[in-house]
Subunit: 345 residues, 2 copies
């Protein structure tokens, strides 16, 4: 083994706001020993997602909160170092909840079972954490099942430069909709329009962003792919057309308040939903694992046709994961935020 | 003709809060003259609905606001007095937007065309304004298309003693759900349980109504048929099970604020909708006129089987319509609120 120490993060306190150093402690521990039915996984890549922050809070979303003292939860791609399982052998690449640690144990207790990736890999492994993995499937389900934008309709995507939003908007374009993004800087907005092909993108840090969004959606809004919540969603619902659909994917503007006295205060005007006979539907990709093959085939097709551009922001080193998560809430990343933990053997 | 004067209400100001006497003026005018393609309708019954209050505001819901100076809009049942139309003859009973007036003109300009009722009528004419009309179909669409309660699931219905809520809850019972109502008095709650067959009903004027609602929904809430909004909806969303459905039918707690500075402020926690992967969907019966035959056949079947009990609160005299509408917002009526305007000839 190339190292004898298992760097890892353990949750010490549920954060109030931004994750502080003593909320999530970075430690060196012994590498776990494995027994029958277990395999030792070395983490190669970690996916940094808004859900990481939810799991630190007391909110039970898709999974129970990370217990105090527990290893920080996170999805990743790893490599089997040693295996006492029949279905895994040393060298295999696997995906699953590696956690924020150099090493993980794959066994029957994992909340989501590890799965062995095909060999040779058909694509870059990081794509499997991005557009051809849970991230892409999330966008697919929200657009295809809930938003269903039709040619000529107007679709708004918040966090348009983010991992899910960038894919969602491009699916909307492939379906023939007019797609308008919101993002947090002029550079991101330019990228969303020029590289990702959205029709327009509004920088929500501009003081006149509401007027800009109105101007970019002259025929109202038929579909909202919502990743942010807060003031952006507040304004979007005032422009909903009759029969509009809101795919409620996330509320990243809110998660940092979980654990503070202001927690879970995100609210939306229900009058406007009533008046527009709109649909608001939340969904979670992990509820729909049966749809992954269909979704990934569709997404891979878009990639092949050159209709799905994807970006990655890669942070080197597990020791930078905590600050990377905090920076995601500041909007630092474009596209998928990844931690590169180690090279494969 | 039995009278020569047309009593009617005209909208003078958009109300701020409760409808004042000088917002909606009660007048005596000449009976309209009709020309080719028109029929003169005498109003027999008026349906009093929360939508009446919305139409007085500047909010464009299902129809444009009543113009200032215009006759107050309202659905009703009338009788043809005189006809220059091929499809109507004197004596026919018709349903449509009679307006809040003794007489209306049925012609091509009506926002909703008048329709001639079958003769002889298969049922009491007021049922056609209640469970076998728009009111019942509203309940049907919200339960069958959106709520879809399954046997053993828990369904909550706000304004359970009201015209739509009472029907919605009974459809829920017919589908095998546990059905819990909320209503505004002890007497109404007793009626909802004993006469309408709900499993429980909570009086939202009790100080401990939240605890009562929690106790009545020990397994959480799978379906909410929402007529009220405000604090009731706020609390309901905290108890949603994963995959819950909210049929957003109305927000009667809010309409009286339309036109005031607090107008259209109803908000709901979107965090709770996100976390429960819930669906919130608004709908409007007038968007689904193609579904009326199916819905009314189902509802008539429930009536025949003794599974659909319906109540009417009848107010005599057009001159009492304005106060009746205000009283509906105080929760005075049980079941459908009707104004009896005149006897048929």
């Amino acid at each position: 083994m190339s190292q004898t120490t298992n760097h890892c993060y353990r949750l010490r306190h549920r954060p109030a706001g931004t994750v502080a150093d003593d909320d999530l402690e970075f430690l060196q521990e012994p590498i776990p020993n494995i027994g029958p039915g277990q395999a030792l996984i070395r983490t190669l890549w970690l996916s940094v997602d808004p859900a990481n922050r939810i799991w630190m809070s007391e909110v039970h979303y898709n999974m129970p909160p990370v217990p105090i003292g527990g290893i920080m939860r996170g999805f990743g791609i790893g490599q089997v170092v040693e295996s006492l399982r029949d279905d895994m052998k040393a060298g295999d690449l696997v995906s699953g909840i590696t956690g924020w640690a150099d090493y993980a144990v794959a066994d029957a207790t994992n909340l989501v079972p590890f799965s062995v990736l095909p060999s040779p890999l058909p694509t870059s492994p990081t794509l499997l954490l991005g557009p051809l993995g849970r991230t892409g499937v999330t966008a697919y389900l929200g657009v295809q099942d809930i938003g269903r934008p039709q040619p000529g309709e107007t679709m708004v995507v918040s966090a348009a430069a983010g991992a899910v939003g960038s894919v969602a908007g491009q699916i909307g374009k492939a379906r023939g909709a007019r797609v308008v993004g919101t993002a947090g800087s002029r550079e991101k907005c330019r990228h969303v329009v020029e590289a990702l092909g959205f029709d327009a993108c509004v920088n929500y840090r501009d003081t006149d962003w509401r007027e800009q969004l109105d101007a970019a959606t002259p025929d109202g809004i038929d579909v909202d792919f919502e990743n942010v919540g807060g003031q952006i969603l507040d304004h979007v619902v005032t422009r909903l057309n009759v029969g509009a659909r809101i795919a409620l994917c996330g509320l990243i503007s809110e998660y940092n308040s979980y654990g503070s006295s202001a927690g879970q205060q995100a609210r939306v005007s229900v009058d406007h939903i009533l008046m527009s006979r709109a649909l608001l539907r939340s969904f979670l990709v992990l509820d729909h694992t049966d749809r992954f093959p269909e979704a990934i085939a569709y997404l891979a097709g878009l990639v092949d046709e050159g209709k799905l551009r994807y970006d990655e922001t890669v942070v080197e080193g597990l020791e930078n994961a905590r600050s990377a998560l905090n920076q995601m809430f500041e909007g630092v990343n474009t596209g998928k935020l990844l931690i590169k933990v180690a090279e494969p053997l």
